[in-house]
């Protein structure tokens, strides 16, 4: 900018600048609203399908499910609860089969979100799936892909009286409440163990205290 430039040109030019940016912004927001409205139903359908598939993964015999939210000591079936979400799964005869429980906790890289299946009659975990993780590819991300690690959760004893699940390194698990760690991914394996123990301590007492309400299929 030079001194010789008249104040008049400056005024017109800044009006024009504001007008330009304003109209670009206006067109941009219209485009975004249109895209958002058009894609929203597809995105919601995708997310619902993913959640349903994840519940199927950890509760293979559940035909239908009801969503609940933990709220302190009780459960609610509206959105008001502040605690973790659980899904009561029912088999083909509408009998309670088990629960899919959402949980999360700090991993090696970022928060890991998982869902796991729990059966109250045997007090055991019957499946675990990683919903979201940023663990190191090839090492930590095996918590979601390694079949040997995932088989730890086919039948994992989680009765609350014996101090929770224990992570075993190298020697191999000998008890039904133990998990074999992935070699090279101890921190991620530990994270899963901690997430499960922390979530069990909060969720399982509530499930057992409210089992009667949760068993109703309506």
């Amino acid at each position: 900018m030079t001194e010789s430039m008249g104040s008049e040109t400056k005024t017109t030019s800044s009006t024009r600048m504001i007008l330009t940016l304003g109209s670009v912004g206006l067109v941009a927001s219209v485009l975004l609203v249109v895209t958002y409205t058009v894609t929203l139903p597809y995105i919601e359908a995708n997310q619902a399908a993913y959640l349903l598939a994840s519940i199927r993964d950890v509760l293979p015999e559940a035909e239908t499910n009801l969503a609940w939210t933990i709220d302190g000591e009780s459960v609610t079936n509206d959105e008001s609860g502040s605690g973790p979400r659980i899904f009561a799964g029912f088999d083909a005869d509408s009998v309670l089969y088990g629960f899919a429980i959402e949980a999360q906790g700090q991993g090696y890289a970022d928060v890991i979100r998982i869902i796991y299946g729990y059966r109250p009659d045997c007090a055991c975990i019957i499946g675990m799936k990683v919903l979201e993780s940023r663990e190191t590819p090839g090492l930590g991300d095996k918590i979601g892909t390694d079949p040997a690690f995932r088989s730890n959760f086919d039948s994992l004893d989680v009765r609350l009286d014996d101090g929770g699940i224990a992570l075993i390194k190298q020697v191999g698990k000998t008890n039904p409440w133990e998990i074999d760690a992935i070699s090279g991914a101890t921190i991620s394996s530990e994270a899963i163990t901690d997430i499960l123990n922390a979530s069990n301590a909060i969720v399982l007492p509530v499930i057992h205290a409210n089992l009667e309400i949760l068993s109703r299929h309506e």
Binding site: T20, T35, T39, I43, T136, G138
Partner: protein
């Protein structure tokens, strides 16, 4: 036509201009990621080239960069929604790198250097060429890194079950190695010809 072809090889955005390194290094660990990222970037390049070229006489010089960023950000957010609607899995594995297309300097670079000075037809050809060149480059990295690092291509096994994956290839370090060797090879080839 020359506007299109130069992006593929002679002025390839990755191998010659060495622009947009963030997605090149970060998401080329699988072939699928490379394809989705390539398509999304091409979409943003072409759409913003059309708008920037069409409005090139209307936008005052002083606010052109701000306007371009706004235009580019709009198309990036649109492609973000579209990818989410088409495949949640693809969106999940690309994570924040879709939004980061905004700061990919290939796009702002082409808007500033080409679309703001040329007609719509030429700008679209230029953007398509740059997009194709970018996709080709990250696809090369994706194929090499996924096949060596996981022993698969698009999830299908290529070396058989006995192959022990070369894990470093899908870690960030592997991206630098592969890019370095590709640049070495391409520069040698170009020097031997020219």
């Amino acid at each position: 036509m020359n506007d299109f072809l130069k992006g593929l090889w002679k002025e390839n955005p990755v191998f010659v201009q060495v622009l947009g390194m963030c997605p090149v290094l970060a998401i080329t660990n699988t072939v699928m990621n490379s394809i989705v990222m390539g398509l999304a970037t091409t979409f943003v390049l072409v759409s913003s080239a059309v708008i920037v070229s069409a409005t090139r006489s209307l936008i005052p010089k002083q606010v052109r960069i701000a306007s371009y960023i706004l235009i580019i950000a709009t198309f990036v957010t649109m492609s973000d929604y579209i990818i989410k609607a088409v495949s949640l899995d693809a969106h999940r594995s690309l994570g924040p790198f879709i939004s980061l297309i905004v700061v990919n300097c290939i796009i702002l670079g082409r808007a500033e250097a080409f679309s703001s000075r040329n007609g719509i037809g030429a700008s679209v050809m230029d953007a398509l060429g740059m997009g194709a060149g970018f996709t080709l480059a990250i696809l090369m990295l994706g194929v090499i890194r996924e096949s060596l690092g996981s022993g698969t291509i698009l999830g299908m096994s290529v070396f058989g079950a006995s192959y022990e994956p070369w894990v470093i290839m899908i870690l960030p370090g592997g991206a630098f190695f592969v890019l370095g060797f590709l640049l070495l090879g391409i520069n040698r080839f170009n020097m031997s010809r020219g």
